[in-house]
């Protein structure tokens, strides 16, 4: 071997390669989204004007909204606009889509992060604990709980949380978002139940992955080496096991992100949170095509981006990937 380039360039090269495929994916995704949504029946203009509107009024509105230009041109305008950071103007709201998405992001993003943090905060210790007690009552209990957690539909869990903590105990709001203006903690409070209902099923999956990947690692030769050095089981587990076990867990976190988004769309529905998920539902029912397209694009982008970041994170966790070309 004679190729020990500095890690930075290797990292960069690795990122660049992933970045190209990311861009291609995004381009294809935008085309798919646009085509599907344009094919969907329903016209924003007639939706806005309701059942008493006259045909010429609808036509006038279509012109005003710019809906009568050819589809391919609308597509190019849309994509071109997005590249410049301009997502266009909502048909129904008549405000810039970017602004609407921005507002919603302030709900969806904190929710996703909150849920992700919560689920990792629960899953990691639980998984590590179970792995270190393999086969003992502690392990059996944790695994039983995760088995149950995986089986619980998050929206049902959300309903139960609402029933118990919002309706009966009145500790939390049953839904809605107070807005960050109301203060950080008030905002967190209104995201707590949604985040819990998203996080727990997620945590169950992660805990299982954490445990099994740790168990795999425990069987590795280097764990035996570590023990031969005089590390106790616990020391070996923490100092050599956890970081190695993180690699498959990261993959799962990346893959699960798409589930998390799908889940949060439903959960936003349950808790009536003004997030991106609701925006999709709302704009699809009002045929606010450009909003639907942009939000779906954003969701897809975020999944692709997260997986990209996960790939980069691998390289941080696993030095082998930094030099692998």
């Amino acid at each position: 071997m004679g190729h020990h380039r500095p890690n930075v360039t290797a990292m960069l090269r690795y990122s660049l390669k992933r970045l190209t495929s990311l861009l291609i994916s995004l381009a294809v995704a935008s085309l798919v989204i646009f085509l599907v949504i344009e094919v969907a029946p329903g016209d924003p203009a007639s939706f806005m004007l309701g059942i008493n509107a006259q045909p010429d009024t609808v036509a006038a509105l279509r012109t005003e909204l710019g809906l009568d230009v050819p589809k391919w041109q609308r597509y190019l305008d849309w994509v071109g606009g997005m590249l410049r950071g301009d997502f266009g103007t909502s048909y129904t709201y008549r405000t810039p889509v970017a602004g609407m998405i921005g507002d919603r992001l302030w709900v969806s993003l904190p929710l996703a992060l909150f849920a992700l943090t919560l689920s990792t905060a629960i899953a990691f210790p639980a998984g590590i604990y179970a792995a270190s007690r393999r086969g003992k009552p502690g392990d059996v209990a944790v695994m039983g709980a995760t088995q149950l957690g995986v089986a619980v539909p998050n929206f049902w869990f959300a309903m139960m949380l609402v029933l118990i903590f919002a309706i009966n105990l009145r500790w939390f709001n049953a839904g809605g978002f107070v807005g960050w203006d109301a203060g950080f903690w008030a905002g967190i409070r209104s995201l707590t139940l949604p985040a819990i209902s998203l996080a727990l099923p997620q945590a169950a999956i992660l805990a299982r992955v954490m445990r099994s990947s740790l168990l795999d690692i425990l069987g590795e030769d280097f764990m035996r080496t570590a023990r031969a050095k005089g590390l106790s089981r616990r020391q070996a587990l923490w100092q050599h096991g956890v970081r190695n076990a993180l690699i498959p867990v990261l993959t799962i976190i990346g893959l699960q992100f798409s589930f998390l988004l799908a889940g949060s769309i439903i959960i936003e529905q349950v808790f009536y949170l003004p997030g991106l998920g609701r925006l999709v539902f709302q704009s699809i029912s009002s045929r606010d095509l450009i909003v639907v397209e942009s939000v779906v694009m954003l969701l897809v982008f975020s999944v692709i981006l997260v997986n990209f970041l996960v790939d980069l994170a691998y390289a941080l966790v696993d030095p082998r990937l930094r030099t692998r070309t």
Binding site: A29, A40, A151, F155, W156, S258, I266, Q269, V296, L299
Partner: protein
């Protein structure tokens, strides 16, 4: 046989039996409404009580099992039938443009959260069980493609595949003859897991109104209907919820059990 497998099979077959039985018998006709008898608590007349239209919940749960199973099963079928050949092809042509195209296509589909796929499909074709199946099915394709590709790739490294190539067999033939049989265990296990995820997904889609349409009962829609009534009739939400949990639990236990049961490492140590 291990404990997970036994419990899993027991739970799953309970659900399957209920679904099958519903074709010939349910305590009540699940479509008949008896509005004066609405919102009854579980009791001797109606074992699981009645819903807001006075329908018998026990019967609806039985028929709902049918919907859940049908949707999830067909969706897994779609995922397998399309995903596995794609994955095997990609593995057989590893590194080629075909592999690249298949895998990038997979990533692309994967980038669409299942619910978004469902929303897009229903926006075009309308809500319904068939479209829910398609949405979940599409989501399953990359799952199976990925898992079969990675399993196949490690098999392609094995000497017995090299031996088959030495014997002049084509990639397609090797995939069919040598790769496929050796990934079936994995596919069965993954299939069980996807099946349980399918049941959850179906419930989620029905809950937001994108799944099976009335009068076909669906556990997810029962939950959606129950949502405003949990405060005074919690059984409406509890019963379908528990049905979903037990089914998914059963399938997951079965999947785990099967994995242990079919794991070649464990089997070799037994022989």
């Amino acid at each position: 046989m291990n404990r997970s497998l036994i419990i899993g099979i027991a739970l799953s077959s309970l659900v399957v039996c209920a679904a099958l039985l519903s074709f010939v018998w349910t305590p009540y006709d699940h479509t008949v409404m008896d509005i004066p008898a609405k919102l009854q608590l579980p009791g001797p007349a109606h074992w699981f009580g009645t819903d807001h239209f006075g329908r018998d919940i026990f019967s609806m749960i039985m028929v709902g099992a049918r919907t859940s199973i049908a949707v999830a099963l067909v969706a897994v079928g779609i995922g397998m039938v399309l995903g596995v050949p794609l994955g095997l092809t990609a593995a057989a042509r590893k590194g080629s443009w075909l592999d690249e195209v298949i895998m990038r296509g997979n990533d692309l589909v994967f980038a669409f959260p299942s619910l978004v796929i469902a929303i897009l499909i229903t926006a075009v074709f309308g809500a319904g069980a068939v479209n829910a199946i398609i949405a979940i099915g599409i989501f399953n394709i990359p799952v199976f493609a990925r898992i079969s590709r990675s399993a196949a790739l490690s098999l392609w490294e094995r000497d017995f595949i090299l031996a088959a190539r030495v014997c002049g067999k084509s990639g397609a033939r090797i995939s069919l003859e040598h790769i496929l049989p050796n990934v079936t265990n994995l596919l069965i296990v993954q299939g069980t897991i996807q099946f349980s995820l399918g049941i959850l997904a179906e419930a989620g889609l029905s809950y937001v109104g994108l799944g099976a349409q009335p009068p076909t009962p669906s556990w997810g829609r029962m939950l959606a209907d129950a949502q405003t009534m949990v405060s005074f009739a919690p059984h409406l939400a509890l019963i379908p919820g528990i049905a979903i949990i037990l089914t998914v639990l059963g399938l997951n236990l079965m999947g785990d059990g099967l994995r242990d049961y079919l794991d070649p490492r464990l089997r070799i140590s037994r022989t």
